[in-house]
């Protein structure tokens, strides 16, 4: 998650940055961060919230949405002065977090050892496959980020307005859709 989010941010943070290489030893991937402490903190917080949600809702498909928007003042009304968010880009990251299953009972210690060894092999192969998948995702992000750039606002001295939406605890089966629906109704 951190790798994907930071890669997207890196492509959309067009202010002067000093890239920071981060080694993801788990998947043997080196990705790049913008090197902005605030951004890193925000991403970490969101990821922690997401992890908390996943722990409460195991083995469920979920989606994390990273949106970039501009804020514009709506036509001021006599009773409100709302600002309107105009999303100019949204990235949807679909996830399916699978909890590792426990090992079944074994009849002998040897079987347990074999089972443990097999589980280790499966874990490492799963990890390798996940690493390749992440690499593919990163290339996808690169392609998407470079495919269309005309919609990107002018480069300013600060990063673009953004928000990271994760499934919240209060969400029902619809996940984050309720939050999106609420926002649409508000707008």
């Amino acid at each position: 998650m951190r790798c994907i989010l930071h890669t997207i941010f890196f492509h959309r943070t067009l202010t002067l940055v000093r890239p920071k290489d981060v080694d993801c030893g788990l998947f043997e991937i080196t990705y790049v961060q913008c090197g902005l402490a605030d951004l890193e903190k925000e991403v970490d917080e969101k990821i922690n919230q997401f992890i908390a949600w996943v722990e409460k809702h195991p083995n469920r498909r979920s989606q994390v949405c990273l949106s970039f928007f501009d804020e514009k003042n709506k036509n001021p009304c006599w009773f409100s002065n709302k600002t309107e968010r105009i999303y100019w880009e949204q990235w949807f990251i679909n996830l399916h977090v699978i909890s590792p299953k426990g090992h079944g009972k074994s009849h002998s210690s040897k079987a347990t050892t074999d089972l443990g060894g097999k589980a280790l092999e499966e874990t490492s192969s799963r990890r390798a496959a996940l690493g390749l998948l992440i690499q593919e995702v990163l290339f996808q992000i690169i392609n998407f980020a470079n495919e269309k750039k005309d919609h990107i606002p002018l480069i300013s001295d600060r990063i673009f307005n953004h928000e990271i939406m994760i499934p919240s605890s209060s969400d029902s089966v619809f996940g984050w859709n309720a939050d999106v629906l609420r926002r649409v109704l508000n707008s």
Partner: protein, 612 residues
């Protein structure tokens, strides 16, 4: 054509195109050129402010990178035209047996091609209404818009490039080569050219291709593509001749001046305890050394148990030094063993092998010719393996014989003595060495009754032995005051009616201070070794005889010293130092006397102790 095409682009866009090539080269070489980027590899990135430390060129495309590699320094001069493609080949080189990289014999694992492609149809102004939007350069606003589009697009592209260069297989190889200081059989190099040399069919079949989305400009487009080998089957193992990496020696002894003090100051227990600890550490260190080869500078009495009973612990690096140090002194050590094949009374080095081995590292640290009277080590001593070593031998035998007590503390005490010697460099040797018999005193008396006998049988006459025997209690007291004590000594003192009342830490600290301030012995020892050694026994005898014979003689210094040594046990370290100095004076006087007076080899048995 080139000039026209170049002129057709707005100047701002032309500048973007120029910087596009430079930035591409910078990003690629930064992560592919190990030695050029290693200069700035550890350059810290200011996390808080990317602007700080950034050079003007860094601001291009808002991507601050490390300092420009060497290839970029002349890039602007080398680059003739933006119309020429920039081809960067990343070459994998194999070092041959001569440790030289074979130029031109490498394999191209990546090829980056950066080029500005002009549109065939577009050239100059007024070619037709169909291209009005692109050709029109009438107002600066449009130029600015074009510039913004080109610049922003390039900015995003370079973000992607910065990421892609790290996702390709060559990056891992680059990091491996760049991070390790080892000599590798592989090397990464690059070749910059302005033409694309076509691959062979086999190479092309092996390569994968990836192209970035081109950046459209007014009259062309900027394109960036890479052809790379997807799988690099190379072993990055270092050569066999690679020097050993720096190893952390956990039980490194270090300078006795520091470690000794640390150890001694840290432990609140008896004064010998820290020595014990130090000994333990050195034990492991020298044990390995001792057990390594027969040439190890360990006394025969101790090396055996060391070799047999103690595990090899430290690394080879630990051993190498002493081993190397001892290699030259090997011959010296052997004669010691020959001269002193075995202690007369089986000193039980097995009881406390730690007692003896510490000498070895100590001596080694002291650098070769430190003559430890205990001597079996040869302690790196530069003294020739002559009979003059006997004194040391006997001294060492004493110390070795100190060991016989089942209590390791005796050995610790002995080690303490050795440590002191080692630390002072020679001072303690002078004071406690064979030559002056102070240690003879000490050893003679430190030794338990059993060891004193050993002492005598090794090097001294029975008279000396008797003398030592008789002066046992006196010298024990002196030793106590000199803060050279351990539990066994305490026992001895108790047996002799004395008690060690000083705190162990204070005692040891005092001894350490004493040893530190003591002048070096080496200069005096070596030249004196030969002449003195034969006289050692006689010196000892003289001392003992004098002490026995006449309290009022020239050895009254010693006697007075002895007398004064019967003061209260609880004396300060300064007192002990004073006493030690007195002993030194006694030693010197005896030495001087020994040269002039005939040897009196007869020791009266049953002589009374020289006590006030």
């Amino acid at each position: 054509m080139a000039a026209i095409a170049a002129a057709s682009e707005p100047p701002m866009v032309e500048q973007v195109i120029t910087e596009f090539f430079a930035k591409s080269l910078h990003i690629i070489l930064e992560s592919r050129s190990p030695y050029e980027s290693s200069r700035n590899f550890m350059r810290p990135s200011p996390p808080s402010s990317p602007l700080s430390g950034s050079q003007p060129r860094d601001r291009w495309f808002n991507l601050a990178l490390r300092d420009c590699p060497a290839a970029l320094e002349n890039f602007d001069l080398w680059r003739q035209s933006n119309l020429e493609p920039l081809v960067i080949d990343i070459v994998l080189l194999h070092r041959d047996n001569t440790s030289t990289t074979t130029a031109g014999g490498g394999k191209i694992i990546e090829r980056w091609v950066v080029q500005y492609e002009t549109c065939k149809s577009g050239s100059g102004n007024g070619n037709g209404g169909k291209n009005n939007g692109r050709k029109s350069r009438n107002n600066s606003a449009e130029d600015h818009s074009l510039y913004r589009t080109t610049y922003q697009g390039s900015t995003v592209l370079f973000r992607s490039l910065h990421l892609v260069v790290r996702l390709l297989p060559a990056y891992n190889l680059f990091r491996e080569l760049n991070s390790s200081g080892r000599i590798r059989p592989l090397n990464l190099s690059h070749k910059i050219s302005s033409f694309v040399e076509p691959f062979t069919r086999a190479e092309d079949a092996e390569m994968k291709h990836y192209s970035f989305t081109p950046i459209e400009t007014l009259f062309g487009r900027l394109s960036l593509s890479v052809s790379y080998v997807p799988v690099l089957e190379v072993s990055i193992a270092s050569e066999p001749t690679t020097p050993m990496p720096t190893e952390l020696i956990m039980d490194y002894v270090g300078s006795p001046r520091t470690d000794f003090l640390k150890k001694f100051n840290s432990l609140p227990s008896a004064g010998i305890a820290p020595a014990c600890v130090a000994m333990t550490r050195r034990h492991s260190w020298s044990i390995e050394h001792g057990s390594g080869t027969s040439a190890s500078p360990s006394p025969p009495t101790i090396s055996e148990p060391c070799g047999s009973s103690q595990p090899c612990i430290p690394s080879l690096t630990t051993c190498s030094h002493p081993h190397n140090a001892s290699s030259s002194g090997q011959k010296k050590y052997t004669p010691f063993e020959e001269c002193y094949p075995s202690p007369p009374l089986s000193p039980s080095p097995s009881h406390s092998p730690s007692a003896s081995y510490p000498k070895n590292p100590l001596f080694r640290y002291e650098s070769a010719p430190v003559i430890i009277p205990t001597g079996k080590v040869g302690g790196g001593s530069g003294l020739p393996p002559s009979p003059c070593w006997k004194g040391k031998h006997h001294l060492s035998s004493h110390t070795g014989n100190l060991a016989p007590s089942p209590d390791d503390n005796s050995n610790v005490r002995k080690d303490l003595v050795r440590l002191g010697e080692f630390e002072s460099g020679k001072a303690l040797q002078k004071v406690l060495s064979f030559s002056k018999d102070d240690l003879g005193y000490f050893c003679g008396l430190k030794l338990t009754r059993t060891s004193s006998k050993l002492f005598i049988m090794d090097e001294l006459d029975e008279r000396e032995l008797a003398f030592a025997w008789e002066d046992r209690d006196t010298i024990i007291d002196q030793l106590n005051r000199a803060d050279i004590s351990d539990r066994e000594e305490q026992k001895m003192n108790q047996d002799a009616g004395g008690s060690f009342t000083r705190s162990p830490a204070a005692a040891i600290g005092a001894l350490v201070r004493l040893l530190k301030t003591a002048p070096g012995l080496r200069e005096g020892v070596q030249p004196d070794a030969a002449p003195i050694s034969p006289q050692e026994p006689s010196s000892v005898q003289k001392v003992m005889a004098e002490e026995h014979g006449s309290i009022a003689s020239g050895s009254t210094v010693a006697s007075s010293t002895v007398a004064s040594s019967s003061l209260s046990k609880s004396r300060s370290a300064a007192d002990a130092l004073e006493e030690l100095k007195k002993y030194k004076e006694v030693k010197e006087s005896i030495l001087a006397r020994g040269k002039t007076q005939p040897t009196d080899t007869k020791l009266g048995e049953g002589h009374t102790d020289v006590e006030p």
